[in-house]
């Protein structure tokens, strides 16, 4: 008869399992394996078991992968003209699976290159606005006082006029048309919700004992902010950043559709839908790029839902 494995270290002994990923000394147990898991590995397992999130992830990998590899995946280039095949509906003829547009360009290739543009906009906007919102929110919540007031009043301004209206005005003023200019404008407007979330968490956590302890041992402001407090805000931020990708793609499409976004001949999904508007009888020009847009948003939302369930430590809906 063997002794049961000590699951917890006896008092006085420093518990080595507290550190992330540290392996428990299992030499006392025979045939009984214990694996210490960090919060992150729990989150990863919950995420991987979330069925809808996995479907969304696979969909995104396929769509974004096609966009990223556009020069290799697309059967034609996005501006190759064939005046013999103008406005041809989807067909297997010459591999025009999505048909051709009004000057005979292969529409599948244009959609794939459109995905490329849209995904670049979406990912960069999500990354830049999250980073900026995070820094602004952290500063506002940690230092409080006038700087907090100042940053929060800026976000208040964003609440008085609908973001889409402000985006249209800014894009019209800056004479947009360039992809990276549009990306910059979107990022400049998308950081406020993230800043609000981060600020809220910082406001409450800065009073916690462990922050006080860190201060007592002489940790600097930056270390406390980014090493001790920030990890606690990462859950909602990651979810928000994911959803921002879809939001930015849709908003770019909206701007391009109204003629204030990316200008042709660069195809983005919004530019393509807008171009199809002039040919209401040739349905594929509007329907297909829009369908890709819907698929992207649905997949991103699924992944966002999965992340939300996975990253909430109180959440036990999906077993780890």
């Amino acid at each position: 008869m063997t002794e049961p494995a000590p699951l917890k270290a006896p008092p006085g002994v420093v518990d080595s399992t507290i550190g992330a990923g540290a392996a428990l000394d299992t030499s006392a147990a025979e045939g009984l394996e214990l694996e210490a898991r960090s919060q992150w590995s729990y989150a990863r397992r919950r995420f991987l078991r979330h069925r809808l999130a996995m479907i969304g992830l696979v969909g995104l990998v396929i769509i974004f992968g096609a966009g990223a590899l556009a020069p290799w995946v697309a059967p034609y280039t996005f501006d190759q003209i064939d005046l013999n095949l103008v406005l041809h509906p989807p067909t297997t003829l010459a591999h025009h699976f999505f048909g051709t547009d009004e000057i005979g360009r292969d529409y599948l290739s244009r959609v794939i290159y459109g995905i490329r543009t849209s995904e670049q906009v979406g990912l960069v906007v999500a990354f830049a606005s999250t980073l900026f919102g995070l820094i602004m929110g952290a500063i506002a919540g940690y230092y409080r006082g006038w700087i907090d007031n100042f940053i929060m009043r800026i976000t208040d301004l964003f609440l008085t006029i609908p973001v889409l209206v402000m985006l249209l005005v800014t894009a019209a003023l800056l004479g947009a048309g360039n992809q990276w200019l549009i990306t910059g404008i979107l990022a400049a407007f998308f950081w406020t919700p993230i800043a609000r979330i981060v600020r809220g968490v910082f406001l409450s956590l800065r009073e916690k004992e462990y922050v006080e302890a860190a201060k007592a041992v002489g940790a600097g402001d930056l270390r406390i902010m980014f090493r001790h407090i920030l990890p606690n805000t990462l859950g909602p931020i990651i979810v928000n950043a994911t959803l921002t990708v879809a939001d930015a793609i849709i908003t770019e499409a909206f701007l391009s559709f109204l003629g204030q976004g990316i200008k042709p001949p660069t195809p983005s999904l919004g530019v393509l839908v807008a171009g199809g508007q002039s040919f209401p009888q040739d349905w594929w020009l509007t329907v297909l790029p829009g369908l890709v847009l819907v698929l992207i948003v649905v997949c991103v939302n699924f992944v966002g839902d999965g992340l939300r369930d996975a990253l909430d430590p109180q959440q036990r809906r999906v077993r780890a």
Binding site: L157, I161, A253, F254, Q277, V287, V298
Partner: protein, 323 residues
């Protein structure tokens, strides 16, 4: 309560002033409003241009121009358009009427349907009904408005071209020169935009209603109500629905504030003479005072409805107290 409202109103004034000043600065820096006139030097002599610039205070510094603009807002109802010299306010009120007709109709339908579907899906959670509408609202939520609007347009244009039946019109507000606000002709014109807007809002409201219903259903006082032997329909109607309606009232009050902005995309696609269409045409022409008037009307409406939402919340939920 009154001090709370007063404080909120006082606080919103500097926000409105700041946002109007920023918009004014941006818009006036955007371009020369007299560029069109300048392009034609034969009919518009330098003297005329100089005179116009003087009349519209274009030769003054920015703060002075802003001050003149603020005066015009209060004394002349936003003044006149720089491009057409027409008064702005009548155009705005006309566009507002059209927008409100379309947008309110869509909101009411979406609200009634969304609340009903949300309640039923929550009571029958994980039923076929629930799954169907979860999918529907997921799609409705993911669908870009302009795409839905275009698909409806394509569909009804094709129906007309193939069978020569006119079910709904795909652009404009009336087919004749004039028509009354609630004629059949008008309804045929606004049906597609209303459907477009309804789908989007319905997705939002039904999801929201379902989520709050589930929150309430699992609360202690509902269990108590069941335990004391109340019939299920009374539990649902009296204890669950009434409480679950509180958040949706505030959410819809918040959305109503933004409604005056008009449905920019939908109005553009169906060429409806509403606020969103007005805004986008004036913006493309860089008619700055018209755009400013639009922005201010929208901003004030949002501020007012945010306040209404908060007050309503305190009124409906006795646990919330403002002081």
């Amino acid at each position: 309560m009154l001090t709370y409202i007063a404080r909120r109103i006082l606080y919103s004034i500097p926000v409105l002033v700041a946002s109007s000043f920023i918009s004014f600065t941006l818009l006036t820096e955007a371009g020369d409003p007299l560029a069109n006139l300048r392009a034609n030097p034969r009919t518009n002599s330098p003297q005329i241009l100089h005179h116009l610039a003087h009349v519209y205070h274009l030769d003054q510094s920015l703060p002075v121009r802003y001050w003149y603009w603020v005066q015009s807002v209060f004394t002349q109802k936003f003044g006149v358009s720089l491009l057409t010299s027409q008064p702005i306010w009548p155009d705005i009120t006309r566009a507002m009427g059209h927008t409100l007709q379309i947008v309110l109709l869509a909101q009411l339908i979406a609200l009634v349907l969304g609340v009903a579907v949300g309640i039923y899906s929550a009571i029958r959670q994980y039923s076929a009904f629930d799954y169907t509408f979860t999918t529907v609202s997921f799609l409705g939520y993911a669908m870009p408005t302009f795409w839905l609007a275009l698909i409806l347009q394509i569909l009804f244009v094709d129906i007309y071209l193939h069978w020569h039946v006119r079910i709904f019109y795909t652009s404009g507000l009336n087919s004749g020169v004039t028509s009354s606000t609630w004629s059949l002709d008008r309804l045929q014109h606004i049906a597609l935009p209303v459907i477009t807007l309804t789908v989007v809002s319905f997705a939002l409201y039904s999801r929201y209603m379902r989520a709050t219903m589930l929150d309430v259903i699992n609360s202690d006082y509902v269990r108590t109500a069941r335990a004391k032997g109340l019939p299920e329909h009374l539990v649902v109607m009296r204890h669950v629905v009434r409480n679950a309606l509180i958040p949706i009232v505030t959410v819809s009050a918040l959305t109503f504030g933004g409604l005056l902005a008009g449905a920019i995309v939908t109005e553009t696609i169906f060429t409806l003479d509403g606020m969103g269409f007005y805004f986008i045409t004036k913006l493309n022409q860089l008619d700055i005072y018209a755009v400013m008037a639009y922005l201010m009307v929208v901003a004030v409406s949002i501020v007012v409805f945010n306040l209404i939402a908060d007050v309503l919340y305190g009124f409906l939920d006795p646990r919330v107290r403002y002081d």
